[in-house]
Symmetry: C2
Subunit: 207 residues, 2 copies
């Protein structure tokens, strides 16, 4: 048994909820809700779990806390059965981590930066520092990156190859974040739209 501290429905928590479902670990997890809209993730108590002040955080039975979605996904993927989300061979691992990081930096984190810096974000009690120019620039970056994702899907069904992996989860969460800020996928990116439509059908996401 382990705990996940998160806030249901937000993009980064969704990454881990999908991974838990994909690995069939739902009955081994209990969720602890962190009131992110109220700023609980910036409280002293929460910062002792994760000094970065972000959700989700995995809490192991011995009280160890693990933050960062890539790290939590590595834990989940290696805690039961063969790895399916992070790859088995050196080459698979390389492709998955590369595409995961690109999707994280180019889409998910870029949209997050726009949200926290160039919109009201979570409100003035939480967004105590904003750099609007950088936020706006990050939005341009996210749109460009959608075009890259569309190209990457030209010759393969999933971002890192023939299987659904952590890279797809990250990009999917990035598009969820884009929905929140009302950033649509440009209409000519038909491969990216088709990929999203397929991903949404997975039981780990549809449920």
């Amino acid at each position: 048994m382990f705990k996940i501290h998160d806030y249901k429905g937000f993009p980064n928590p969704t990454r881990i909820r999908i991974a838990i479902s994909e690995k069939g670990l739902s009955d081994q997890v209990s969720f602890v809700s962190v009131d992110v809209p109220a700023g609980e993730h910036k409280s002293v108590a929460f910062l002792s779990r994760n000094p970065a002040g972000t959700v989700p955080v995995l809490e192991l039975e011995d009280g160890t806390h693990i933050s960062e979605c890539t790290a939590i996904t590595e834990f989940l993927d290696h805690s039961i059965g063969q790895p399916t989300l992070t790859g088995r061979t050196a080459r698979e691992r390389a492709m998955i981590h590369m595409m995961q990081r690109r999707a994280e930096a180019g889409l998910l984190d870029a949209v997050a930066t726009y949200f926290h810096h160039a919109t009201p974000g979570l409100g003035p009690h939480i967004e105590t520092y904003q750099c609007r120019e950088w936020g706006e620039k990050s939005l341009d970056r996210a749109i460009s990156f959608m075009r890259y994702l569309d190209q990457a899907l030209e010759n393969r069904p999933y971002l890192a190859g023939s299987q659904f992996t952590m890279a797809d989860i990250t990009a999917f969460a990035g598009l969820l974040y884009a929905d929140i800020v009302k950033l649509e996928i440009p209409s000519d990116l038909t491969r990216l739209k088709a990929w999203r439509a397929r991903i949404i059908e997975r039981p780990s996401i549809a449920s």
Copy 2:
């Protein structure tokens, strides 16, 4: 045999050179120099290897290109022997990836953002967009993060536990970058300084 496209001495290339040495893979690699000061990493030819326009890039025998240091390190660590840099168990992998990502975001990428946005960086022909305010803010973030690293080393010799791992490599490269921008470790951070002094003695770094 595989190739690494990089520019010797820069922080991110150093991460991979250390990993290659730690894994004993030096005789299986050839290096291709990319003229980063002249902007070769932003050329059309190089962008076809890595659309993000960054070094290092791993080129496999079949022509596949892998960018992102975490991805390249995963490849190297799983291509020979047991993993030593990225962990063997679910728990080890979680700790290493968490601390790696914290060191990357909080130190290495923060210092890089300062360098590219709030200093002349690689020069006006390469730094075609700068956001000085964000660059300055990133420097503050890096200094705060050094304090976190010092605390993290309170009860363990290496960042992710009892062994030298990818997390240490990332933080070490972050401090190399700090040297380039003349950002010193605050004098009261004695654990961080002692850790660095120990790391520098490793054959993979000293040589």
